[in-house]
């Protein structure tokens, strides 16, 4: 397939972005919203992997390029797995408990897109302690 104009190239660029999107580190260093997902043993056994995949899928479908989903180890709240922490630049991180697959949509809609944490799922943590 031949690329016949700059516009066509740009279109292909958009389509190809998927391939390298996960690697946007360093150079550009734009501020990202981070979604950390606890993926230690108890997290996985209570469905963190499905949660993570649900995040990936929905964020991808909605083309939310400024969000990074990062699997992390034990967050420390095994009783409320799967746990998900949302870090929005400049704001206090929010930790959610019991985030099964079906709760993902809510978090994306209200918190990530709307900027309002989903109150009833929050685990209160004092992030200052660390």
């Amino acid at each position: 397939m031949k690329i016949k104009s700059l516009d066509e190239l740009r279109k292909i660029k958009e389509e190809s972005m998927e391939k390298v999107k996960l690697r946007q580190h360093g150079q550009g260093a734009t501020e990202h919203i981070e979604v950390l997902i606890g993926m230690a043993t108890c997290g996985i056994s209570s469905g963190a992997r499905e949660t993570l995949n649900a995040f990936m899928k929905e964020l991808g479908d909605e083309n939310l390029d400024n969000v990074k989903v990062i699997p992390v180890g034990c967050i420390g709240y095994c009783h409320s797995e799967p746990t998900v922490q949302v870090n929005i630049p400049g704001e206090t991180p929010v930790l959610y408990g019991n985030v099964k697959e079906n709760k993902v949509h809510n978090i994306i809609e209200k918190h990530i897109k709307g900027g309002e944490p989903v109150k009833n799922m929050i685990i209160n943590v004092d992030f200052e302690r660390a």
């Binding site: 389509e15 690697r23 989903v69």
Partner: protein
Amino acid sequence: MEKARTNIMVCGGTGCLASESEKVMKNLQLIAKARGYADEVEIIQTGCFGFCEQGPIVKIEPDNVFYVRVGPKDAKEIIDEHIIKGRRVERLLYKEPNEDKTINKQEDMPFYKKQLRVALRNCGLINPEDIYEYIAVGGYEALGKAISEMTREEVVEAVKDSGLRGRGGGGFPTGLKWEITKKQESDVKFMICNADEGDPGAFMDRSILEGDPHSVLEAMTIGGYVIGADKGIIYIRAEYPLAISRLRTAIEQAREAGLLGKNIFGTDFSFDIDLKFGAGAFVCGEETALINSCEGKRGEPNYKPPYPAQEGYWGHPTCVNNVETFANIPPIITRGAEWYASMGTEKSKGTKVFALAGKINNVGLVEVPMGITLREIIYDIGGGIQGGRKFKAVQTGGPSGGVLTENELDTPIDYDSLRERGSMMGSGGMIVMDETDNMVNVAKFYLEFTMDESCGRCTPCRIGTKRMFELLEKISDGKGTMADIDALKQLSYMIKGSSLCGLGQTAPNPVLSTLKHFPDEYMKLIKDVDTPTNNDHAKNKVKVNA
């Protein structure tokens, strides 16, 4: 689930491949598949990350974790711990030498902190064998912009305004070279990429070609448009098989996408690129020798003028540029001359890639803004001298350059200040020596190299370097006299003054430079430095062992 959530990037540069990174990658793929994660993680082979000393390198995104010295056996733990459980494999993280601290993020590592990657922007980031990854990071936009939105004059102006100078050693302003070639009246012109890279210790061009081949193809095509050439040639030494194979793939993909060939971007500009192979002779990197070699003749230099821009490949105007020079072109076009000129010093703009080698902790490839000091390169990026020993000297500019010493550690690195101090930027080889290195041996090493590599055309270069080498051997064997030192100096000036090409003209530099900075080391080896015996007033008499 068809969308990958993690990218595992495995270095596929020559250094890491030599330490089994191919196996690491295969194992990662096998284990990811066995665990049912094949769709969630994508494993990509990239170009060199620069930190070859610590290879094989494996980087995981978006987690931004950087693993070093990863062996095939570590693949299991990376998948099981990191990918499946989200726990970092501590023992594979980089540890600061002399400090008991692990660092997991690439940008926190001192090795990368002072670097600014322009020419190496995509090395270690994209899969060099996938044109779409190059396009995804902005590839071929500069070409599109240049040929469909800019006049040839505007492109020349941009390159001139950027202040970019040739990275192959001479430091000639690239925009000016393009302008001169553009002005020649001829229907047939050529754009040549010099990928000979003969300097001992240098591997920046190889890494760019292996890690980001499309950037060179793109820049050559832009250059072809500017000077009015429809044909490009990459002259590459046959000892670079990986670079050659990646270039071949890239050329094929570019042709398929219509980015090489006829009517590029639907304009009436056509351009294509061929590869030509060199046998790996240092002198073939000299541009006129390179052109002779391309024509199938012996790789011997010609007198200049005429310059290649006037009469080059088969007598047609030809522009020869270095690999790294080309790699800087696309960002200059897309981000602008001003952006480029904002980096570096007044007369040396932008960044320079150096191949750090020798007695330094972090051996590897570094790209830094011009004007950074030697101290910053050696201590901050290079992590200092191995084994905590004392720094003695650094050879820059390969066999054409000279040594810089402790007094010059705070010299800002640019073309002119290196030359003022009797060395050269050269192509960017940087060999660091510590207190245990002997400077006479260093001089001997480089001289032996140029002696072997002399094409033999000029008597002073062919025979003079041999004589110099013999004198150095005599001195290091403890049989030399002061007269030999004088002879060395005299030969040096004569060879410099009467050789046809840059090889001969610079061959004596390592000797002159070590003589100047470390005369004591020569004197220690000389017999009877200044002790006339009997009535003999001859200053440098040789003792006769009767």
